[in-house]
C-alpha cells in the first residue's frame, strides 16, 4: 500500500484535506443548524389531472396556519398565476407542478430555485423581508418560447 510521498506534497495533501473538510463542515453545520437544505419535497401527482381539479386547477395564494401558500402551475410558456402577491415578513411556501415538460422556477435575486417536473410537486419556502418586486424566470429549457416564460412576484407591505 505504501506510496512514497514527498514532504511538501504531504503538506499539500493535508491542506487539501483540511479545505475539503472545512467546506463540508460548513455545509453540514448550515444544514443542521440553519436548515439550509436544497428543495427536496417528495410528492407525486398525475400530470394529466393537474389542470382539471385540485389546488393546481385554480392556482393562487391561500393561507393556512399563518403560513402563506402559493400554488402554481408552470406550463408552456407561462406561470399560473402570472402575477403573485404575497405579504412581506411571512414565510411563503411555493408549491408548483407542471402538466407538460420540465420547467424551472427561479425567483431572480433570491435563493428560490426549483426544478418543476410533471408528476411531482416541488416545494420551497422563503420569507421576503421587504416590499418589492421580483422577476421569476423559467431556467429549464421547455421548448421554443422558453426565453419568454416569466412571472412576477410582488411583495406587499403587511396590512
Amino acid at each position: 500500500m505504501a506510496v512514497h510521498i514527498d514532504r511538501y506534497e504531504r503538506y499539500w495533501m493535508w491542506a487539501s484535506t483540511g479545505i475539503l473538510v472545512l467546506f463540508l463542515a460548513a455545509i453540514v453545520l448550515t444544514a443542521a443548524v440553519g436548515s439550509a437544505h436544497p428543495p427536496s419535497h417528495v410528492e407525486t401527482i398525475d400530470p394529466e389531472q393537474v389542470g382539471v381539479h385540485g389546488e393546481f386547477a385554480s392556482p393562487g395564494v391561500s393561507t393556512a396556519d399563518g403560513r402563506v401558500i402559493v400554488s402554481l402551475r408552470a406550463e408552456m410558456y407561462v406561470f399560473r398565476p402570472e402575477v403573485i402577491r404575497v405579504p412581506a415578513g411571512t414565510p411563503v411556501t411555493f408549491r408548483i407542478t407542471s402538466p407538460d415538460v420540465l420547467h424551472g422556477f427561479q425567483i431572480v435575486g433570491t435563493n428560490v430555485n426549483l426544478t418543476v417536473a410533471p408528476g411531482y410537486v416541488s416545494e420551497a419556502t422563503a420569507t421576503f423581508p421587504r416590499p418589492g418586486e421580483y422577476l421569476i424566470v423559467c431556467n429549464e429549457y421547455c421548448g421554443l418560447a422558453h426565453h419568454l416564460m416569466q412571472g412576477k412576484l410582488i411583495i406587499e407591505a403587511p396590512r
Binding site: 506534497e9 499539500w12 430555485n113 426549483l114 429549457y141 421548448g143 416569466q150
Partner: protein, 538 residues
Amino acid sequence: MTPAMRLVMAHVWVAIAAFAVGSLMAVMQALSRAGVELPFRSAELYYLSVTAHGVLLALVFTTFFIMAIGYLVSETALGRIRGTVYAWTGFWVALTGTLMTTAAILSGTSTVLYTFYPPLLAHPTFYLGATMLVIGSWLWCAVMIYSYRDWRRVHPGERVPLPMHGIMTTAIIWILATSGLAFEVLVLILPWATGLVEKIDPIQARTYFWWFGHPLTYFWLLPAYVLWYTLIPKVVGGRLFSDALTRVVFVQFILFSTPVGFHHQFTDPGISGGWKLLHTFTTYAIMFPSLVTAFSVIASLEGAGRARGGTGRFGWIGKLPWRDPFFASVALAMVTFAMGGFGGAINAAYAMNAMVHNTAWIQGHFHLTVGTAVTLTFMGFTYYMLPRMTGRAIAWPRVAMVQPYLWFGGMMLFSIPNHIAGLLGMPRRIYTGDFQGVEAAQAWIPFTNLSAIGGVVLFVSAMCYVGTVLATVLTSPEGERETIEYAEALATQPAAPLWDRFGFWTAVAVVMIAIAYARPLYHLHTMAWYGSRGFSPF
C-alpha cells in the same frame, strides 16, 4: 502511415470536423444571447443549434478524440493494439450513430438539447444514433482492456506503463458511466419514444442521466490528465514528480467519479435531502485527486524550469517554453481548470447550489472545465501529435503559437461574464437575455455583450486551430517522424501492485455506486408515480 496511426487519425478527423461545426454554432449562440440580429436568427434555429453544439462538442468531439488518445497510448506505451477489427468496427458504428443523431437534430425534429430530458421527445433516430455512438465507444473500451491484458500476459508482475494506467482508468469510468445512460435510453426512453410504452417518469430518467452525466466529465478530463502527467514533463525537459502517487490519483477517480450525480439534481423534487447530502460528500471527495494533480504537475514543471536555469521563487516560470503551443495550451488549461474547480465546489455545495443552478453561471463553469481544460489540452496535443503521426511539420507555427492564448483570452471574456450574469439571476440556454425588457434583466446586458465578444474571439481561435491542422496535412511536406516519448518519474520507487488491480477497484466502485443509488432508485421506481406522455414543442 502505420495501421495504428491510420486508426488514430481517423478518430482525430471526426473529432475535428465535429469541433469545427460545433464552434460555428457556438459563436452564433453567444451573439444571439446578446441580441445581435444575425441573418436567419430565430428561436427555432437557436435551440436547434444549442442541441447540435452540445452533442457535437460534449459528446462527439470529446469521445472521438479520447478514443484517438487511447489508441495512441496503447500503441506507443504498450506497443500493441489488440482487436483492431473491433476498433474499426467501433469507429464505423460510432460514426454512423453520430451522423444519424446529427441528421435528426438538423431536421428540426429533435431539439431536446444534449441532455434530452423526458418528457421532451425527440425523433427515435436521435436516441438510436446516440446509442450507436456509445456502443462504438464500448468497443474502444474492449480494445483497451484486451490490449492491456495481452500486455499483462507477457509482463506479469510489472507495473503497467503510467499512460496506459490512465487510459484504463478512463475506459473503466466510461463503462461505469454509460451503464446508467444505457438503462435510461434502452429501458426507459426507446420503448417510450417508439410508442411501445405510453409514459415515462422524468425524475427517474434524470437520475439515470446524471448517473452518467458526472463521470462523463471525468471521462473527458482523465485523458487530459494523462497528457499533463506523462507527456508535458517530457516536453518541458523535466520529469514526472511521482509515478506511484499518480496511480493512486487515477484509482481515486475510478472510485469517486460516479456516486455523485445528485449534485446535478439538488433542485429536483422526488429525491430526499439526505441522499443529496451523501452525494455532496462524495463530490467533495472527488476534488481531492484533482488538488493532488495540481501539486504534482506544477512540481514537475518547477523542476523543469529550474533545470532550464530558472532561479528564485518564481523565476522558473519564465523559463518554461511558453512559445510551444502544446505546453502553452496545457499551462493555460491548468490555470482555467483551477478556476473551474473552485466554481465546481460552489455548484456542489448542497444548499448554495440554489444560487447558481441552471443560471448562466453553469455555462460559464463548464466552458472553463470541458470547454478549456479539456479542449485546449486536446488542441495543444494535436500540435504535438500531428507531426509525430504524419511526419509533417506544423504548417503555420506562428498561428499555432498564438492560438492557445486567443482561446484563453476569449474564454475569460466569455466565461467570467457568464458567471457574474448567473449570480445576477440570468438563466442559461436562452435565445435572448432580454426578457421583454423587464428591469431585472437590464443588469445582464453588459455581461451578455462581453461574452458575445468572447465568443467571437473563441471562434477565431477555433478557426486558427482547424486551419493550422488542415494546412499541415495539405501543404506541409512529409519528413522524418519523431517518436512520442513519455516522461520518466523523479521518484523511482515503484507503486505497489495493488494500484494496478483494475478489476478490484472497479468492484469497489460498483459497491459505492450501489450504496449511492440503489435505495433512492428503488424508491423512485416503487412509489406511486404517474409518468408523462411525450412533448415535442419545437
